[in-house]
């Protein structure tokens, strides 16, 4: 009962627009004062949890993302993909999806991916006659590739909270990310197959295409080097993920300032402050959620949920399905970061009991909470994308529903029920 009221307080305060950290705090305060706890341990607990070098990876990737965004690094990536995929009906949609995936390999967040690729692609898509609602919906879903393709803020958080290897979590989400890339592209092509309003660029000779591709790739190579440095640095054994993130910042600054000339010295300080604000806002949320989840543990929330679930069925697959439904509901109510923060401490003990590898669960959670970004009412990517495209949300719904049914849910089911999809790469590259 206490837990139910605490949850209600959380949902009500969230809905009336209380900033998420304070919504979490209000729920925590209720538990504190009704549960007879001494509040003195809360702040030190939040502090000690956040006193972590791994966590520092997040602001560093946000910083790198900010620099890349301002530095027009995304433009060059779009150009490369466009020479190949721009020539079929719906091809520009595929370009959007694929560039989001590639940009995802340098950016750790989905909103950075949406805002960067969106601001480049939207004008092109509109000019080519794409229905604006379709384009915006596609962009919103593609943005999630920013958190499935490593590096990923969400996976860092999960690893930090679940005490897992960051590298392993990165690798686990990678293949589901590729599957989603393919399915999103396919649904896009299918939906546009009979749309005659869309301009398609005339085909060129193979030689001309190859020449163009080569020249665009050369221009984009400093940008394309970023994933090589980040992922190569981590996997090649030169750096820990945190170090790779710092090196990414150091690398992105001269590329943005001197090669692509998109960033002035004055902008750099502004970009740092902007990134630091984003960081601070996320960290305030983490601080609050750490405190709340500690209270959930003391109130035995995971055991209570497990009790309810196993009373429905003892079957592992059925329980996993219920956990997925639970996360989809969580994803409807909150954004991905809050979801992973709140979900990890509650759900990881549950799935471990079921014999699910926590690394496998990292991928399940990534896909699931990624989906949560485009499911209303709380659908930050849908709204962000709509704002960038100038598309009302109701026009985005048709495509969004198609994408959910034919791209998202299949990816989620594959990831959940075929552990090899996420663990295969981990085992292959990391042994164990």
């Amino acid at each position: 009962m206490t837990i139910a009221i605490a949850m209600t307080i959380l949902v009500v305060t969230l809905f009336i627009g209380v900033p998420i950290p304070f919504a979490f705090f209000s729920s925590a305060a209720y538990l504190i004062y009704t549960g007879g706890y001494d509040p003195s341990f809360l702040l030190p607990y939040g502090f000690s949890k956040m006193n972590s070098i791994v966590l520092l990876t997040i602001p560093l990737f946000i910083m790198a993302g900010g620099v890349m965004d301002k530095g027009r690094i995304g433009d060059k990536l779009v150009d490369v993909v466009d020479t190949i995929a721009g020539r079929i009906r719906g091809g520009l949609g595929v370009v959007t999806v694929v560039t989001c995936a590639i940009f995802g390999a340098v950016s750790g967040s989905s909103s950075a991916t949406v805002s960067c690729i969106g601001s480049i692609m939207m004008p092109k898509l509109k000019r080519a006659g794409y229905p604006v609602g379709h384009a915006a919906a596609l962009l919103a879903s593609s943005g999630v590739l920013g958190i499935l393709i490593p590096p990923s803020m969400l996976m860092i958080l999960y690893a930090w909270m679940g005490n897992q290897s960051v590298l392993a979590c990165f690798l686990a989400a990678f293949t589901p990310g590729l599957i989603l890339t393919v399915l999103l592209s396919a649904v896009n092509l299918f939906l546009l197959r009979n749309n005659t309003e869309i301009e398609v660029r005339p085909a060129e000779s193979f030689g001309a295409t190859a020449r163009q591709f080569a020249s665009k790739s050369a221009k984009a190579s400093p940008a394309l080097m970023m994933p090589v440095i980040i992922l190569g640095g981590i996997y090649g054994g030169f750096m820990t993920p945190t170090e790779a993130a710092a090196v990414a910042v150091i690398y992105a600054i001269p590329v943005a300032m001197f090669i692509y000339k998109g960033l002035k010295t004055r902008d750099l300080v502004a970009t740092l402050i902007e990134s630091a604000t984003t960081t601070g806002v996320i960290m305030a949320m983490m601080f609050a959620v750490m405190i709340l989840s500690r209270l959930y543990i003391m109130e035995n929330l995971p055991e209570q949920i497990m009790g309810v679930l196993t009373s429905v069925s003892e079957n592992k697959y059925v329980i996993m399905l219920m956990i997925n439904v639970f996360m989809i509901i969580m994803g409807m109510l909150m954004d991905d970061v809050s979801g992973v923060l709140l979900g990890t401490p509650i759900l990881v003990p549950l799935v471990t009991q079921l014999g699910v590898d926590p690394i496998h669960f990292a991928a399940i959670m990534g896909v699931n909470l990624g989906l949560g970004n485009v499911t209303p009412p709380t659908a930050p990517l849908l709204y962000l994308s709509g704002r960038i495209a100038g598309a009302p949300v109701n026009q985005m719904m048709r495509t969004t529903i198609y994408l959910i049914i034919f791209a998202w849910l299949p990816t989620l089911l594959i990831t959940t029920y075929i552990p090899e999809v996420s663990l295969g790469l981990v085992h292959w590259l990391m042994g164990n």
Binding site: Y37, D38, S40, F41, P44, Y45, S48, K49, I53, V54, A159, N163, Q164, S165, V166, L167, A168, I234, Y235, G236, G237, F238, M239, T240, P241, R294, I297, M298, M430, G431, N432
Partner: protein
């Protein structure tokens, strides 16, 4: 409460929150469960214990702080040194060369045991006992050069926990060291950021690292120890009889741990060998030489934080 007891002078039962850093598979968790059962039985339910394993309530430094505050009652943790730099003395390199010496060093009434109780007491904490978990060696991807000569370059860089007691011990043995968080250690070994690591007894090398390391050297350079501690006010609020029951339960289990740790070390060294890892153990003579060398060189570097009095007192306590 409308039952038959209503008339009797009711003895209030008290529940203690017992936080540990150990996962439920760890031998320390079984020990915690034995203590819980024993205390609850012998006090006839006047004292009950709820165990929160696996850092559920926070990491060791957080748990210790809460033991001071009283929001956690009892803890089984690696005691952090943030409130008193001397609390880290148990990890001083070569505190003992082998198990025979360890049992003397950490026995009830020994020098360290007495000093530790005083330090905790000043912070409002009741110290029950040290708990032994194993001798720490070096797990490595490549063979170590000059392995028997302390102070001579070992040819590889190893990961150490970010604490002087580990860093200086490793350095004086002849390793180049770099501090990397435990959670990154596996991938750092796997990718070659470092070629070896200090910080775990055989069980940890087997359970967490057997797929990546090729060699294990039982240097005994540090001893993995944890402690049973309790909030002092909560302890003293118990009746004298219950106090004795609680303290005895913890102390006896803790003293037992040194025997269990020794057989665990042996068992896991065997498992490491079965997993194809080359395990090197040293003779008492060799360990004695290493211990003497490292104590001579590393201990004075540690005096600044551990204080000369404490270090010299320890030095004088060996027979």
């Amino acid at each position: 409460a409308c039952n038959d007891d209503a008339g009797k002078a009711e003895t209030k039962s008290v529940e203690f929150k017992f936080a540990t850093q150990h996962p439920v598979e760890h031998m320390a968790h079984k020990a915690a469960e034995r203590i819980k059962a024993r205390v609850e039985k012998e006090t006839q339910g006047r004292v009950t214990i709820k165990i929160y394993p696996a850092n559920q309530l926070g990491d060791a430094s957080q748990i210790y702080e809460e033991v001071i505050r009283g929001s956690i009652d009892i803890a089984h943790i690696t005691v952090p040194d943030q409130y008193d730099s001397r609390l880290g003395i148990g990890f001083i390199p070569y505190i003992a060369r082998d198990y025979d010496q360890i049992r003397e060093v950490f026995a009830k009434g020994s020098f360290i045991d007495t000093e530790m109780a005083k330090m905790h007491d000043a912070l409002g904490v009741k110290f029950f006992s040290y708990f032994g978990e194993g001798f720490i060696g070096v797990g490595a991807v490549e063979p170590v050069e000059n392995m028997k000569q302390p102070g001579v370059e070992k040819g590889i860089m190893i990961r150490v926990p970010g604490l002087d007691v580990f860093k200086f011990g490793g350095e004086e043995l002849g390793f180049r060291t770099t501090s990397i968080p435990y959670s990154d250690t596996y991938s750092a070994l796997q990718t070659g950021v470092v070629k070896g690591w200090i910080g775990g007894p055989p069980n940890l090398n087997y359970l967490g690292f057997r797929d990546v390391i090729k060699h294990y050297y039982q240097y005994n350079v540090n001893f993995e120890s944890t402690q049973y501690v309790m909030n002092k006010a909560k302890f003293e609020a118990l009746s004298p009889e219950d106090r004795k029951i609680v303290e005895t339960a913890f102390v006896e289990e803790a003293q037992q741990s040194f025997l269990m740790a020794e057989s665990e070390d042996q068992m896991y060294r065997k498992k490491l060998e079965e997993a194809g890892i080359e395990v090197t153990v040293f003779t008492t003579q060799e360990l004695e030489e290493m211990a003497n060398y490292v104590r001579e060189h590393a201990w004075q570097r540690l005096e600044k934080n551990l204080t000369p009095e404490l270090v010299n007192g320890l030095r004088g306590s060996y027979k």
